[in-house]
């Protein structure tokens, strides 16, 4: 039975939600994916023209004065496809990129795509494991600290996080190498100081080989995890503190919910929104952040490939790693958007 005594009072005009109900998560996902594809295309455009507008002549720079006759220059240009007009070159670039052909590395004399695939795995392993660990630990520390604000746990965890946050990650890596890799006084080094495999490992996919890789990755993973969990725990703590004064938490308590349910179902769900954005965006940048860690620990990953390509210089490789890095950022952005829309119904409409 409807108890509204005066039907005139319940005006139909008071129905703002009626039209906004139509758009669900599906159309939100489609819109965000299309947006990311657009960004990717724009990035390809920049990736191509950025290197074309740089001053200098490829034949002169790369030839290092050895290409003297016009015939030699023409031969060089033909070999690298530079005899076509810029627009034709762009079209060829698009077609070959779509086919996974990123050109030839000058230094290695190998296809760039093959180099990148070889180097992608160590980076993904390093970045992936560190991101998962730092997210889990950081979010946990942030939640516990904020919910028991001012407790000993909160003070220790916030203090540690601030200290770690202030440290450059490569310095942290060097300290770990000095302490746990090289060893000090009578303490022997427990972990290798660099590389991904021991030289005596024949099959890296055997149980022994995998254990060896884990052993090699321990220090770099600890370094990256510590560097990023500090940021995540501080952000999670402050966004949860922001939620603590909200009225809906009082409603949840008044309903008779246990404290832990009020925290997890109501407060944390809302506090995760800003944290998700930061973590997902960071994944994109962690790929480049891993450059310093890969250098410190001599890990043959994408970061090391990029630094080598800059010092050579190896343009095709640079273009390729640039492509992978920016595709990573765009992909991480897309993931952030999708998680955000899933967590918060307000952004879907």
């Amino acid at each position: 039975m409807s108890l509204v005594a005066d039907p005139g009072l319940v005006a139909d005009s008071e129905e703002p939600g009626a039209r906004s109900r139509g758009r669900g998560y599906g159309s939100y996902v489609v819109a965000k994916v299309l947006g990311s594809v657009g960004s990717l295309l724009f990035m390809l455009l920049v990736n191509f023209f950025l290197f074309r507008v740089l001053p200098g002549n490829a034949a002169q720079t790369l030839g290092r004065g050895r290409l003297n006759t016009p015939a030699q220059v023409a031969a060089f240009n033909k070999a690298y496809g530079l005899n076509h007009s810029v627009l034709d070159q762009f079209w060829i670039f698009l077609k070959s990129t779509a086919h996974g052909d990123l050109g030839l590395s000058v230094k290695y004399r190998l296809p760039v795509s093959q180099l990148i695939v070889d180097r992608l795995w160590p980076t993904l392993l390093l970045v992936g494991v560190s991101t998962i660990l730092s997210t889990l630990i950081g979010v946990y520390l942030g939640i516990r600290g904020a919910w028991n604000r001012g407790s000993v746990f909160d003070k220790v965890s916030t203090g540690t996080s601030l200290t770690l946050y202030a440290m450059p990650e490569w310095w942290l890596g060097l300290m770990l190498i000095a302490g746990l890799g090289v060893g000090f006084a009578f303490v022997p080094g427990l972990f290798p100081t660099g590389g991904l495999h021991s030289p005596d490992i024949v099959d890296t996919n055997s149980v022994h080989g995998i254990l060896d890789t884990i052993w090699h990755l321990t220090l770099p993973v600890i370094t990256l995890t510590l560097a990023y969990l500090a940021e995540y725990s501080l952000i999670m703590r402050s966004s949860l503190l922001d939620e603590l004064g909200e009225d809906y938490l009082q409603t949840a308590r008044a309903k008779g919910l246990r404290d832990v349910v009020v925290r997890n179902r109501h407060a944390v769900r809302n506090a995760l929104l800003p944290t998700t954005t930061v973590i997902a965006l960071n994944i994109g940048f962690v790929v480049s952040g891993a450059i310093t860690i890969e250098t410190v620990f001599s890990i043959p990953g994408l970061g090391q490939l990029s630094t080598e390509a800059i010092s050579t210089p190896d343009f095709a490789v640079l273009q390729g790693t640039f492509l992978v890095a920016s595709a990573g950022v765009i992909g991480a952005n897309l993931i952030a958007n999708l998680i955000y829309g899933w967590l918060d119904p307000r952004v879907r409409t």
Partner: protein, 337 residues
């Protein structure tokens, strides 16, 4: 005033510990709600009425020190164990919070938020039964049951407040505390929300404590009214009588603050009060209302006047009642319109 009352608050003191020292928000309040009775609590912001409401379910902030007793169904809420308290929360007494805009969780569907207390207090409830109950509740507050799938941001302020009412009635509580349920709503929607709330409460015989600064609204809806000023009760009595012929000068000021349509005298009567309520950490000596009182005299200054009976279930805390140019007290046969 026996323990058989639904809610019996006795000598309640609530003091907040702040950086500037103790802040007394509620100072010795007595209040009774019988089963099926609607009791209004009136007063300006900062008079302690919301603090009073929060202590009924022991929801006061952790920096508050509470003394006195809050007997709900004869059991003291302030000293009961956590498990017992959780059972009383919402199933025994529920709250319609002020600020409908923020009292619902923005990331959960309203249907889930309404069914949440149902499931907590009755874990064996089947999904279907709980969905059906949510539909009934939404229907009763005049919302389409399909709205259960909406999120709070898809509803207007009035709709959100009606969702809060549906939620408050979900577990068939014996007492509903409505803390300024219509703040931040426009006048038409206010009337509608109050209409839904009072009809449902009356029909089910639920006791209600209704908090508002608007004495005219309380006079319409309530059986009795308690007027609070600076953390104390200054007047208590039958709702219409307090509105029409207030004893305490503060009740008179609250009553005059809302013009009565068709009363030519009200157009020219002084309405409103000079100044603000006293800061709780700087209470004036003697009668706390004296600095703003149009009738203040020497006699008001030595001590805070106690709540004194004025026949016919009325009481007020003012020493000047009955003195010259005090509001006249009608005999018992007086009109109650």
């Amino acid at each position: 005033m026996s323990d058989a009352s639904l809610l019996a608050i006795r000598d309640l003191h609530v003091t907040y510990a702040t950086g500037d020292g103790p802040l007394p928000a509620v100072r010795g309040v007595d209040l009774t709600v019988e089963r099926g009775q609607i009791v209004g609590v009136a007063g300006e912001s900062g008079c302690g009425k919301s603090t009073l409401a929060s202590t009924i379910l022991r929801l006061q902030p952790s920096n508050a020190t509470v003394s006195g007793t809050v007997l709900f169904d004869g059991r003291d809420v302030l000293t009961m164990r956590w498990g017992e308290l959780r059972a009383v929360r919402w199933a025994g007494a529920s709250i319609v919070f002020q600020g409908a805009l923020h009292s619902l969780n923005p990331v959960h569907r309203i249907g889930d938020q309404i069914s949440e207390p149902l499931r907590i207090h009755n874990p064996s409830l089947a999904d279907r039964a709980s969905r059906q109950r949510v539909g009934e509740l939404l229907d009763q507050v005049g919302l389409d049951p399909q709205r259960a799938r909406s999120y709070p941001h898809q509803l207007s302020g009035g709709q959100k407040q009606r969702v809060m009412i549906a939620m408050a009635l979900a577990c068939d509580p014996e007492l509903v505390v409505a803390d300024e349920p219509t703040t931040a709503l426009d006048v038409m929607v206010q009337a509608q929300v109050l209409n839904v709330l009072s009809t449902l409460v009356r029909e089910r015989g639920v006791g209600m404590m209704m908090i508002s600064h608007d004495l005219s609204v309380l006079a319409d809806l309530c059986d009795r009214i308690t007027v609070m000023y600076a953390g104390r009760v200054v007047e208590e009595g039958p709702a219409r009588r307090i509105f029409v012929e207030p004893l305490h000068p503060y009740s008179a000021a609250l009553s005059a603050a809302f013009p009565r349509v068709g009363d030519p005298a009200a157009r020219f009567a002084p309405s409103g009060l000079p100044g603000d309520p006293p800061q709780p950490w700087l209470l004036p000596g003697g009668c706390t209302f004296a600095p703003r009182c149009p009738r203040a005299a020497e006699v008001c200054l030595p001590a805070e006047p106690p709540l004194t009976s004025y026949g016919e279930e009325r009481s007020a805390a003012c020493v000047r009642i009955g003195e010259p140019d005090a509001p006249s007290v009608e005999p018992a046969s007086g009109h109650v319109s």
